[in-house]
């Protein structure tokens, strides 16, 4: 008894007249209060949570990325340069020092 009387009141408040429309909506909302509302709440919660998650991952990625750029990238570049220089030097030593090296042991002996 209480539910039908409360439902038109609610519909009237929500749609302000428009009987057929209100009734239709009313019927849907009575059964759907629990379902659509729940779904909507769940959806908005998920949206908010995922937004937060996305934002914090973005921030973490930003911090990690800038830290990497400042601390590690120069190190990699410089070590690569050093390695290149060592390689070049050993190559040069190979070119210049190759003839004396096999020749030197007989010279010592």
């Amino acid at each position: 008894m209480v539910a039908p009387s409360a439902a038109p009141q609610k519909a009237g408040a929500g749609a302000s007249g428009g009987k057929g429309w209100g009734r239709g909506m009313n019927f849907g909302s009575v059964t759907g209060t629990s379902l659509t509302d729940k779904a909507r709440r769940a959806a908005s919660n998920t949206a908010r949570f995922s937004q937060k998650l996305l934002w914090s991952t973005g921030k973490a990625a930003w911090i990690a990325g800038t830290t990497f750029l400042i601390l590690v990238v120069p190190l990699i570049i410089e070590m690569d340069r050093e390695q290149q220089m060592v390689d070049m030097e050993s190559q040069q030593a190979g070119l210049l020092g190759a003839p004396p090296l096999p020749g030197s042991p007989p010279a010592v002996k």
């Binding site: 911090i63 800038t66 830290t67 400042i70 601390l71 120069p74 190190l75 410089e78 340069r81 050093e82």
Partner: protein
């Protein structure tokens, strides 16, 4: 004592585990015990442009010119960072005699002036004077250091303006460990303090611990991974504010460059690159990022001469 007797009893001290207790090495000065750590973890970071030029006039005398353009942080009580654009030129004159004397003078366009004198009377006794003159009142300071280097100890007496008196002593206890202590008295602020420090030093590892009655505990550790690479870390705890900070860093000394990086628990990261472009020409890059305060400092510079 027992070890000394044991050593004198044995005629051939070939055994490496028992060191020669009467010939311990001379320790590092008390105020320099953390120098390796400071070298690796605390480079001179700057923001803006720097240009340093040193011109030697003869073997002993050189002139230095240095230019800085950038922004300087102004201390403020709020969380916000206030930066003011600043630029200055510094002129300096250095007289360095390898044997006994060092005179260094600096003058800046904003009116600051500083002078450093070091004079070795003998190879054990030396005097250092640091002076700083500014046009702001009460910021000028002068300091005298009298150093005496013993066979296995070092001691220093400090006299400064505002009635500052300090004394420290450090003694080698074993070939790798040195222990020391200091006392100081600040006459104008009616404050005194006492501090203790220890340093463990081998070829690969330097570890120090320092404690002062002002409430500061500082521990440092430097590990030399190879002759090119060393890793450093430090821990600082302030008893009064109950705040602790830890930082770790690397120090790469390559053939063409020196690169230092640091990461600390305040969310601050820093890197400092010195690249040798040519003989006597160095290119500097300095970066510092404070993630929490969103304070970003980048600088570049050149050093010519030296």
């Amino acid at each position: 004592m027992g070890a000394v007797f044991a050593k004198s009893d044995s005629p051939s001290p070939d055994r490496s585990p028992s060191p020669d207790w009467l010939n311990l090495p001379c320790p590092v000065k008390y105020d320099e015990i953390q120098r390796e750590n400071i070298m690796s973890l605390k480079p001179e970071l700057f923001e803006g442009l720097r240009f340093d030029f040193t011109k030697p006039l003869n073997q002993r005398f050189s002139l230095s010119h240095s230019l800085f353009m950038g922004s300087v942080e102004v201390p403020s009580q709020g969380a916000q960072i206030i930066k003011v654009p600043a630029a200055h030129y510094e002129f300096g004159a250095n007289l360095i005699d390898q044997r006994m004397m060092m005179l260094i003078g600096r003058i800046l366009t904003d009116g600051r002036m500083s002078a450093r004198i070091k004079y070795d009377f003998t190879d054990r006794f030396s005097v250092k004077v640091n002076a700083q003159l500014t046009n702001e009142p009460h910021f000028s300071q002068g300091m005298f250091h009298f150093d005496y280097r013993g066979k296995d100890y070092q001691t220093q007496l400090q006299l400064g303006n505002n009635a500052f008196y300090g004394f420290n002593y450090i003694q080698s206890v074993t070939p790798t460990v040195a222990l020391g202590g200091e006392v100081f008295w600040l006459g104008h602020q009616r404050k005194s303090g006492i501090g203790f420090a220890g340093r463990y030093n081998t070829d690969k590892v330097v570890a120090t611990g320092q404690f002062a009655s002002t409430g500061i505990v500082s521990l440092t550790y430097v590990q030399r991974v190879s002759d090119k690479v060393s890793l450093a870390s430090d821990f600082l705890y302030n008893w009064n504010s109950k705040e602790a900070t830890t930082s770790v860093g690397y120090d790469y000394l390559l053939r063409q460059c020196r690169l230092r990086g640091r990461l600390d628990t305040n969310g601050c990261i820093a890197a400092y690159l010195e690249e040798r472009l040519n003989l006597g020409v160095n290119f500097l890059l300095s970066a510092e990022i404070d993630h929490w305060k969103k304070d970003y400092k980048f600088g570049f510079g050149m050093t010519v001469g030296e």
